[in-house]
Amino acid sequence: MIFNVIYGEVARFVTAGPAWVVTMLITFVLVFAITALVPIFLGWVERKYSARIQSRYGPVYVGPFGLLQNFADIMKLIGKRAISTNVDRLPYEFVPIVLATLSFAMVLIIPFGGANLEFISVPYSLLFLYVFLAVSPLLVLMAGWGENNKYAMLGGFRGVGQIATYELALIVTMISVAFLAGSYNIVDIVNGQSGLWYGAYLPVTLIVFALTGLAIIERAPFDIPEASQELQAGWKVEYSGIRYGLFLIADYVRLMIVSILVVYLFLGGWLGPVLPGFVWFIIKTAAVLLIIMAPRWTLPRPRIDQFIKFGWNWLLPLSIVNLVMVGGLLLI
């Protein structure tokens, strides 16, 4: 893991005690930079991509090809004055910080295209990632309540209903993959796919996982809790300035984590012929990202009751059937 590599380098110059502190600081800065750069880059990709779909140009003026546009936007968000009246201060301030911290933690433990390319290796990294993704109903409800706004509260209620429905299907699909690999460690899961990708064994699970992942991170067209038409911005409506910027960061980091998880769990991760693993990882993740970005710009949003019914009636039974099938496979 990267932490050990950095520590090894630092320990050549510093004695053992301070070396830990220095290593932690360096790791923190690195992870922070990645967490902050992901929305800037992915946001640019999405803006260009959606512009192509909608016959527009997208950002062009700031930086080459408008690459720095999102950087400028984040700067603007930092500089903005936060206006909030009659809010419940504790949950209101708590939620964006926790969401950003969770995305920070996810970047910390997920491998970036190689067995040793994670910052900190955790034995049950898949379960950790699940917990970081699935803790959000609580936060959504807290934000919706704390903002003291009717639209925000409606959004919070919707968010709880939607995410609670879908995280059950998400964990069942994750468990079926973990059964196949015999481990909750992402590195072991990827190494288990050296023969055949799990996506080939479990194509239905792959689709269920992608859909539930999108529903959990409230990615459009499943952005029902923050439906910008009827609820304006749902549970985010009263946030402005960098608090809203933290939501954007969390959104894009979680989008990236979900697409990386699709690659790791079903598409063989960094395994592939000829090219080095890191390149395969980049290619696969980019392809998955572009595919799961497209529905936001092409599909209308389902209604909350239709979507929750879809989750309980189709996705959860499908994922359970898949789990039983995996169990059968393992018995044989």
């Binding site: 959606s50 779909i53 909608q54 016959s55 527009r56 009717k150 639209y151 509260m153 409606l154 209620f157 919707r158 459009a220 067209p221 952005d223 029902i224 439906a227 910008s228 038409q229 009827e230 609820l231 304006q232 710009w297 092409t298 599909l299 209308p300 949003r301 389902p302 209604r303 909350i304 009751d305 239709q306």
Partner: protein
């Protein structure tokens, strides 16, 4: 004092999805609407009163902003009213020019409808696509009149300018593009998109009984299966000389209202093509004095605008200004039905139902 179960939500007048300044006060429980009250009048500018203090020719800029999404239809309606009151005959070329421009404006208006319903469903690309196609027609209007949203093209006795050279070729180019986009691209985005059908089928049903009860006209009425179109039943302009079908729906829900409008775009394209083919030569305007007096008279004119049957009733008393001008706006009556059809729907369907009625508040509030 009544106690309220659930939440009272003010949707509008500055809500981003209510198409202008419509305000709907809804009582909701969970995500379901129990009661809805419509409040209108936020855009009231006293247009009927304004008519009483202006010369007949000076009222054209005001009718432009009546229904600002279909301004030329408004101009045609008012011009017909003044001509009927003053007994002015307009030359055949002007009749055809008016028909062409009115139908082009109808296509533009329906494209805005398509875009805005897509946008209210959370599909912003629909808006961009529809406005992209509308832009082609907007360019035509700009070339003809010099204006875009409020073109000021019609005048008493005909139009301000003749059609420019090679207008028919340019119009044909734009129409072909709109036609192919609607027949091909819009299928994947709207007409055959399962999520779109899920969201619009069975939403905001206005059946035949309710249509008659509220006096709803236009595409909203035809979507309920009533075959009535003033262009057919009492033809004005050149509509009796062209061949077109009246598009009707069956269910009266948001989806059939949408499909009726899509069908009407295709019919309007047919009308424009036939009119461009048959366009007669000759003068395009009957010269009328700028300051004219209309004798003691009561005049009533009604026409089929993109939003329904719009009518104007004018009382003149021999002066240079009307004594009274009454405007009947079609979507005012459609919006009244919201109080009934919004009960029991989910919050997400409020905006879809409003958008599917196609209100333009400039015309509702006058």
């Amino acid at each position: 004092m009544e106690t309220l179960k659930g939440i009272r939500l003010n949707v509008g007048p500055v809500h981003p999805a209510t198409h202008g300044v419509l305000k709907v006060v809804v009582d909701i429980e969970g995500d379901t609407v129990n009661k809805a009250q419509v409040e209108m009048g936020f855009l009231h500018r006293g247009k009927e009163k304004m008519a009483e203090v202006r010369y007949f020719s000076n009222y054209y800029p005001i009718v432009d902003k009546l229904d600002y999404v279909s301004a030329i239809n408004m101009e045609v309606l008012y011009a017909s009213l003044v001509e009927k009151a003053a007994g002015i005959e307009i030359p055949p070329r002007a009749v055809y020019i008016r028909t062409i421009m009115a139908e082009i404006q109808r296509i533009m208006s329906h494209l805005v409808y398509i875009g805005s319903i897509g946008e209210d469903l959370g599909n912003i690309t629909g808006m961009f696509w529809a406005l992209r196609e509308r832009e082609l027609l907007m360019d035509l209007v700009e070339e003809v009149s010099g204006g875009r949203l409020a073109p000021m093209y019609m005048t008493t006795g005909g139009s301000f300018y003749d059609l420019p050279q090679h207008f028919d070729e340019k119009a044909e180019k734009a129409l072909v593009r709109v036609e192919t986009k609607i027949n091909k691209d819009y299928n994947s985005m709207f007409t055959k998109n399962q999520l779109f059908l899920m969201r619009t089928k069975g939403v905001g049903v206005l059946d035949r009984y309710m249509v008659k009860k509220y006096g709803i006209t236009g595409p909203n009425m035809r979507a309920a299966g009533i075959d009535r179109d003033l262009r057919k039943s009492e033809p004005y302009l050149a509509y009796d000389k062209v061949d077109f079908d009246v598009v009707t729906g069956e269910d009266g829900d948001a989806n059939s209202r949408f499909m009726v409008r899509v069908g009407e775009i295709l019919q309007s394209i047919r009308i424009v093509r036939q009119c461009l083919r048959d366009l007669p030569e000759g003068p395009y305007v009957t010269k009328t004095p700028w300051l004219m007096k209309i004798p003691d008279k009561r005049t009533f004119v009604r026409q089929e605008t993109p939003r329904g049957e719009m009518a104007m009733y004018m009382i003149t008393n021999g002066g240079t200004q009307p004594y009274r001008l009454k405007i009947r706006s079609p979507t005012f009556f459609a919006l009244r039905a919201l109080e009934e059809i919004l009960v029991g729907v989910k919050v997400a369907d409020i905006v879809v139902t409003i958008a599917s009625l196609d209100p333009v508040m400039g015309e509702v509030d006058r």
